[in-house]
Amino acid sequence: MIQALNSAMDIMLGRDPSVVLMGEDIGYFGGVFRATEGLQRKYGEHRVLDTPIAEGGIVAAAIGMAVNGLRPVAEIQFADYIYPGFDQIVSELARLRYRSAGEFYAPVTIRTPCGGGIRGGQTHSQSPEGIFTHVSGLKVVMPSNPYDAKGLLITAIEDDDPVVFFEPKRVYNGPFDGDPNKPAVPWSTHPKGQVPEGHYTIPFGKADVVRAGSDLTIVTYGTMVFVALAAAASLGIDAEVIDLRSLVPLDVETIAASVTKTGRCVVAHEATRFSGFGAEILSVVQEECFWSLEAPIQRVAGWDTPYPHAFEWEYFPGQARVAKAIKAVMESP
């Protein structure tokens, strides 16, 4: 996925002279995850900027640049560090178009790695996407694979609205099915790891039915897509797995059509359970598909604790937790 993200930024830097990248360690060093590797060498120090360690300043400066006609792509090194920039994101970036009746707007993309499964503890493993979905004026996306990542990032950069782009770092290098003892599988072996070289976009607001099925619907995003697929396969359940990709705007039609068809739904995400984005999905499913529900909707999420270091695999919602939810929803008569 790293190469896909790099390619997206490379293409956009080449196509649109107003695109600039900014963030901590992204310029000369190429980013702590190598996402911006080689880009400063290729496009120069004035297109790919290193910044101070000041997330609030990064976002604010990006806003100012965007108002002056640039199209900044700001990296927040870990989603865990996004909070110092929260005010500028929520109070300013999200509302600028609205409060100025469209006279001013800031086409800023904020990229940030999120999620656990990497033994990063509570300051390198958080999934705060739900918090941002609650803010009107922000688009929130999270790809699960390289193909989607590149298309969505290009869409995000081209979008005139602000986008918070979450990158589940556990799947930077390959899909992860929740089993830490298995050897890592690279993206090169996976169909979604095949990424076209040129420019392409994936629209926001369109979920991907990763696997069609008729027993139940699993609505998920990010790393959990692969965990869910594996859990369903291990049970021999014919699950329809939907990768949301785009949290705001949300593809309600795809979710509703699926659960109406299957009558059974599991919602899965890494983020903490209480008031997580899963609660919104659950609510939407309940509203749209109530009369088709054969069983209560099940929710799989991280526990409501800060992300612990030593208990990584008890915390991470792995196949066991997903399988339990699948069984519960299938066994309701």
């Binding site: 000041a54 002056n68 500028q88 609205y98 100025s100 609205d161």
Partner: protein, 407 residues
């Protein structure tokens, strides 16, 4: 062990005492080259740049030597600002608008600075810089319609009164959040430099707001990137009821923070039209020649309340502002022009009458677009527009629900 707590010199009922305000004699402070290093400009951050002395004469190296015609324009802008403020204050008290914030005593801070800048320079104001809008020629009707949130409101009903913006006037959208505009201005300036343009950005915050992290981010980024930006801290001594000591002003001037970041810091008399103009022009030239950003502290006094919701008699001496050592900006410029033989009290009165009539006529026009109680109203459908560039499905759906509710 005791915790020190900043205290203003005079509370209600006490005698006003502005001895804490460090003053320099008019014309005493040197004027360095625009290319001077911040580190070499030490005294400017703690002294006070003044051009008009107590006899209303322009003195010293900072004298901008402005044309009397230009000064008259400045006086006009300042007076219009004040009269507009006065009228809008009364209008709020009459219940015709919901809220207002005056800039009484701070007219020069905005007007003089604006006139020292170019129209292509981007301004990032706070809510007390209406002088900028007036000096840039934004019609009063437009400002009033924003106050009224009526059918001609530039914000389409979405903002509290006084949160103006003007794209053609290069006046950035005012936020209710404090200090957020400071680092945004720096970003804008960085982009101007990246694009190789001649424009600069200027921003204003109050001294109270300089406590926010955004202040630090602005100075840091301005310093790191040597952005072509002018960062103004308007030290009007009060942030609602919070005395400037709580923003750190007791221990150090606000301008002195500039050199701490390696930025040129200048402390200037905010009620002196010529001084404000001069330091702004200096900072503008510094920025445009690539010599970097400047932090300017405008020392002034918030002569009125924080807003129509505030009553300063509850936390400061009632006649405080009359004892302010640096006088009133309009009065001083007027006297200076009279001294130059380029103005008179009669002309001033006539100007005041003319401008009052302009304000009144503008109001009459503004209310034809709707008031809080009668006339055309904005369609609440507008609530759902401009959240995003294009209205997404979920908002279309919600708009339908709202319409059904509304009937």
């Amino acid at each position: 062990m005791r915790l020190h707590l900043p205290r203003p010199p005079a509370r209600p009922g006490e005698k006003p005492d502005f001895g804490y305000v460090h003053l320099s004699p008019a014309g005493a402070v040197a004027r360095p080259e625009v290319s001077a290093r911040a580190l070499d400009m030490g005294p400017l951050a703690t002294e006070l740049v003044r051009v008009l002395d107590d006899e209303h004469e322009a003195v010293g190296p900072w004298n901008p030597h402005l044309d009397p015609a230009e000064l008259q324009v400045g006086l006009r802008h300042m007076l219009l600002t004040r009269l507009y403020d006065d009228r809008m204050q009364r209008t709020q008290r009459a219940g015709k608008i919901s809220f207002y914030m005056r800039s009484l005593g701070e007219e020069a801070v905005s007007v003089a600075a604006c006139m020292a800048l170019s129209p292509g320079d981007m301004l990032f104001p706070s809510y007390r810089n209406q002088g900028l809008h007036i000096a840039r020629g934004i019609p009063l009707v437009d400002l009033m319609c924003q106050l009224l949130s009526n059918t001609r409101d530039m914000c389409k009903g979405r903002q509290l009164p006084v949160m103006y913006h003007s794209r053609p006037g290069n006046l950035f959208s005012i936020s209710g959040n404090l200090a957020t505009q400071f680092p945004q201005a720096v970003g804008w300036a960085m982009a101007a430099a990246l694009k190789g343009e001649d424009h600069l950005a200027a921003s204003w915050i109050g001294e109270g707001s300089s406590a926010e992290a955004d202040f630090h981010h602005a100075l840091l980024f301005a310093s790191v990137y040597q952005a072509p930006v002018i960062l103004n801290v308007v030290n009007n001594q009060w942030a609602i009821s919070t005395f400037q000591g709580y923003a750190g002003g007791e221990q150090r001037s606000f301008a002195a923070r500039g050199p701490g970041y390696g930025i040129a810091g200048i402390r200037a008399d905010g009620n002196d039209f010529l001084a404000v103009h001069a330091v702004t022009a200096w900072a503008a030239q510094r920025a445009r020649t690539g010599a970097g950003p400047t932090l300017i502290e405008l020392v002034t006094y918030r002569a009125a309340a924080h807003s129509t919701s505030d009553d300063p008699a509850r936390y400061r001496a009632k006649d405080d502002q009359e004892h302010w050592p640096l006088g009133d900006p309009i009065e001083r410029l007027k006297q200076h022009l009279i001294k130059l033989g380029e103005w008179s009290e009669e002309r001033h009165r006539a100007l005041a009458t003319e401008l009052e009539a302009l304000v009144a006529a503008s109001w009459q026009q503004a209310i034809t677009y709707g008031t809080m109680s009668e006339g055309p109203r904005l369609n609440s459908d507008l609530m759902f527009e401009d959240v995003f560039k294009e209205m997404p499905k979920h908002l279309l759906k919600q708009r339908e629900q709202m319409r059904a509710e509304r009937g």
